[in-house]
């Protein structure tokens, strides 16, 4: 019996240890609310900026604000997961009442977030800051005439190319569709590529390229009109199909290691990319000094010199935030920290200051004022907006693009899949679609 008693004691002790350990786990997560002496307000902000080495970290920027504004203390947290999982988290957080006050969302996600009940209407609080941002970007934070946050950066599509390699081949940045096809052919004959077809980015890049000419989604009398087979889409499909058939485009997923390898070994000497890819292409191609350049898109897809959006984000107010005015005050300040945000690789939507090209960039891009070129593209975007649930459309386009890449499908299929998926998505969300 004595030994049994010991067993029991041991059992209880181990239980107690477990309970302690559990309590220890719990206490760390429940410590965000600070004492409310004075009229101190705490704002939480969930971002997904890169925060890499050599950039001005978000925490450092926020520290400046906190020092100057003792009554509006901001706590910024980087979302560690994949961007595509963040919406799900916000949805759950809003339901549980633990959502942050502010969160970064891609422009394509804003309509979806609204439909899912994640956004807070801040029309009144945000209006006074409208003048600080480009009109196009500001409108991407609006739905139905209501504003839900402030824009941060834009992702216009531009053309990246290696000037010296182009000269060697005796070609220039193509201006028309015919020139593009001819130059690509010439480069391919020399084992080089001046264009890439990236199946994994199809839902972003091809949409942006088609969107340069005309929008896919319009709202008429509170109903969605969906047309993803616009003339722009047809032109994009036609050009890429020709290049894939003629093997004059580099067909490779963007985020697979061999894409970077092709940039590095000089096989890929030109590609369409989003503005935020400027530092990425620089890193992939090896950095240092080079003869790469940034140019505007040519009139390749009937886009008449316009470009389209690929990425870019704003910061939204989340449902349940108690400090709308303070949150917008901070956000306006944060999103206009042009110099600091530029180090994060952003092409800012703020118009309060001119963004300077970081030194490393101008070295790599042969002394070019890259930021000026990117800002020019940012101000030259066609009108394009997204539907709630666009992520399902993008995913379906990506799958179809992979078939076009390996030859088992056509590029045009990507846009017809976009049409059916868009309509299905809207219907499944029980939104109105005009047929």
């Amino acid at each position: 019996m004595n030994t049994r008693g010991k067993h029991l004691v041991a059992g209880v002790a181990s239980l107690a240890v477990m309970a302690l350990a559990l309590a220890g786990c719990g206490s760390t997560s429940a410590s965000s609310s600070s004492g409310s002496k004075d009229e101190k307000v705490e704002i939480t902000y969930l971002h997904r900026l890169p925060d890499k080495e050599g950039m001005t970290k978000v925490d450092e920027i926020v520290k400046k604000w906190n020092a100057a504004n003792p009554n509006i203390q901001v706590k910024a947290t980087k979302y560690a997961g994949e961007a595509s999982n963040m919406m799900k988290k916000l949805e759950a957080d809003v339901k549980a009442g633990t959502a942050p006050d502010l969160a970064q969302l891609g422009y394509a996600e804003v309509p979806e977030a609204f439909t899912k009940g994640v956004l807070e209407d801040v029309t009144a609080e945000a209006d006074q800051y409208k003048k600080d941002f480009s009109a196009g970007a500001y409108s991407l934070m609006q739905l139905n005439g209501k504003t839900f946050g402030l824009p941060q950066d834009g992702g216009p599509l531009v053309y990246y190319y290696n000037e010296a390699a182009f000269k060697e081949l005796g070609i220039d940045v193509p201006k028309t569709q015919d020139e593009l096809l001819a130059s690509a052919q010439k480069a391919a004959a020399a084992g080089k590529y001046i264009m890439s077809f990236q199946a994994d980015e199809a839902g972003n890049m091809l949409t942006g390229l088609a969107g340069a000419s005309s929008p896919w989604y319009t709202v008429k009398s509170d109903k969605w009109n969906v047309n993803t087979n616009t003339d722009g889409s047809k032109a994009v499909a036609d050009v890429f199909q020709k290049m894939i058939d003629a093997k004059s485009a580099f067909v490779n997923p963007r985020w697979e290691p061999s894409f970077d390898a092709a940039l590095k070994d000089g096989k890929l000497i030109g590609t369409v990319g989003a503005a935020w890819e400027a530092p990425l292409i620089m890193d992939s191609a090896g950095g240092g000094e080079s003869t790469w350049k940034v140019a505007q898109l040519g009139d390749w897809f009937g886009n008449k010199g316009k470009t389209g959006p690929d990425g870019g984000s704003g910061v939204v107010a989340l449902k349940g935030t108690k400090h709308k005015a303070e949150a917008m005050k901070f956000l306006d300040w944060f999103n206009t920290q042009v110099e600091d945000l530029t180090t994060q690789g952003l092409i800012v939507s703020a118009t309060t200051a001119t963004a300077k090209t970081p030194d490393a960039w101008s070295k790599f891009y042969g002394g070019q004022d890259v930021m000026k070129e990117l800002v020019a593209a940012n101000n030259n975007m066609g009108d394009f907006n997204f539907i709630p649930g666009y992520s399902a459309v993008g995913a379906a386009m990506k799958e179809t693009a992979a078939k076009a890449a390996d030859g088992s499908g056509k590029v045009a299929d990507i846009f017809s899949v976009a049409q059916t998926t868009s309509v299905d998505t809207l219907k499944n969300l029980k939104l109105s679609v005009a047929e």
């Binding site: 181990s14 997923p253 029980k430």
Partner: protein
Amino acid sequence: MTAQKHTQKKVRGFSTKRQNITGWAFMTPFAVLFSFVFILPIGWAIYSSFFREISEGGGAYGGGELVHKFVGLDNFIYAATSDKFWTGVGRVVLYTVIQVPFMIISALALAMLIDSYIVKHVTGFRLGYFLPFAIPGVVASLIWVYLYNGQISPIAKGLAALGIPVNFYSGNIVLLSMANITTWTYTGYNMLIFLAALQAIPHDLYEAARIDGANGFQIAMQVKLPSVRGAALLAMLLSIVGTIQLFNEPQIMQIADPGISKSYTPMMMALNTSQGSITPSGDGPASAIAIVMAIIAGLLAMVYIMAERKVNES
């Protein structure tokens, strides 16, 4: 004497009770955690599979709020009639049929080899074969993404140099590429199950067989092999349940091959439905997919057990 017996009985009754309490006390942490992280989520999944999140109020953007609406069996009907779902099921079943027997036979062969007296330094081999299992599935998949890359991989380059150009990501080969990762990871694990079973066989049996004039090979085939049938059943069942839930490999290999769709396997389809990249989206349809898949996995395991029993009886 009777009195003594009586007290003894009483003491025993008391101590049994104490023992029960101690048992339950030890059981509690497990029971609490088990119900929190296992039973509760399953219950919640079953509950939410009868609901769908939809917007109310219509219009272009809806009312700015999703409504939790009871939809009866709609989600199950959707899962059961979805082409994507059944294509995914077909894919994992094919995967299981190819991969599991290959892996189990290799594991058994390795275990037999290590258990025989031919191999010296058993610890080294045992550890070596088991090591891939210690690498998390996601990390293993990432490593293989590089090893399969046509322009970087030493394997692809080596094969190309031999005049055999292989694209590990092309249409039908990609499934085999994934099977290779799974085999690489789990063969060592299954080998350990077999090895444990082999080493539990009483050595008298070997001695008896040897006296009867059996050689090493005969002992392996006629004494060892029948004795590990139980272990084989366990290993097969675990593997079938595991491969039916194939997720890590295709999810990671998507980076390199956009052709691996969001609904490539039923488990990927469930996740992506819940995250909104497949429509209809939300936890309701996602839970329904997961539940239907669990039922299919259960049925397959049952079919296997019954088939095994039949074979053993005959």
